[in-house]
């Protein structure tokens, strides 16, 4: 019931925004098409401006992942994750979570293919996929769009939130799905 409602919100949100905002603008005597083009032009410049930042970050993350260095890191933290009752299969996913959104989705899909979506691992992978955003992608794109290279404590906060999300997902899956 709730999910159906949420589903229809997701489906209707964009068409409704595209309908209501231009009509609202017209009523308020905004030259709607001219203003649209004016805003769209800004969007174009912003998207191009983030290219160098994203190239730098995606290359480093991709090399880190493809070389097996990420697996080495996952093996290194395994004693800690064993201690808190996280399945070994999940650890690489936790390491990947802040680095690559498409990577996490790929790994979560693979875990569900192997273990099934209703297994503990499948459920935990699902919750981890649906929790928190890809920290490094967000920071790179958002800061990159205004040319900021010194992120101060943002990385630390993002990673702390990711670790919390992982621990909470583990705890909740143990208690909700047993």
């Amino acid at each position: 019931m709730l999910v159906n409602a949420l589903n229809s919100i997701s489906q209707w949100a964009i068409p409704l925004l595209l309908l209501i905002i231009p009509i609202y603008g017209f009523i308020k005597k905004v030259p709607v098409y001219e203003k649209f083009v004016e805003g769209a032009e800004e969007g174009f410049h912003t998207a191009v401006r983030i290219i160098p930042f994203l190239v730098g970050m995606m290359v480093a993350i991709s090399v880190f992942r493809a070389s097996g260095a990420m697996q080495v890191l996952a093996d290194l933290i395994k004693p800690v994750t064993d201690l808190i009752g996280a399945p070994a299969e999940i650890v690489p996913l936790a390491v990947m979570r802040p680095l690559s959104g498409s990577g996490v989705l790929g790994m979560a899909t693979e875990l569900m293919r192997v273990y099934g979506p209703d297994s503990f691992i499948g459920r935990l992978a699902s919750v981890m996929q649906g929790t928190t955003d890809t920290t490094f992608f967000v920071l790179t794109v958002y800061f990159g769009s205004v040319g900021i290279t010194r992120y101060r404590y943002s990385v630390l906060i993002g990673l702390s939130a990711d670790i919390t999300g992982f621990l909470a997902a583990l705890f909740l899956c143990h208690h909700v799905f047993g």
């Binding site: 949420l6 649209f36 480093a60 070389s67």
Partner: protein
Amino acid sequence: MLNLIWLVLLTSGIIVAAWHGNIEVVTEAALKAAHDAVEVCMNLVGIMALWLGIMKIAESGGLIKALARLLRPLMIRLFPSVPPHHPAMGAIILNLSANVLGLGNAATPFGMKAMQGLQELNPHPGVASDAMCTFLALNTSCITLLPATIIGVRASFNSVNPTEIVGPCILATAASMTVGVTLDYLFRRRNRQRRE
């Protein structure tokens, strides 16, 4: 900090690849990622143009200001360094709302617009401001009511109940958001005390 993280990611990758005797993966991964990064941005061009165009109409009509006024009591507590009437406030609200509704492709353009607004207020242009850090703490740990992609994946593998993970997702995100916002508050307070 970021310089170090970037350096470690890249060099440790190359060293591990060399250690495992498959150095050729480095070249392939690096070139492919460089190509993919541009593709991500190119995909963003159209989406950004569309949403920032629509946002401009809403802004010109005064809709964004009205929205910001509605949430002002909350926003001035989260962003004390941003004037309550500043356009960045409206963009931040739009970005977070789009995130909550799971409209990822609308969230990014609104988010960049918010960053541009915050950058206008930033006294040190190359360095992240307090308000930017708060905004990104909220953004990276933001709740999505319906994680549509993963529900789709679960359904495609014939899950008995593909949406059973929605509740745990929301609770886990709430936990990470609480930690993010609390840490941000503590960092801000510490910095303020240092300055005084």
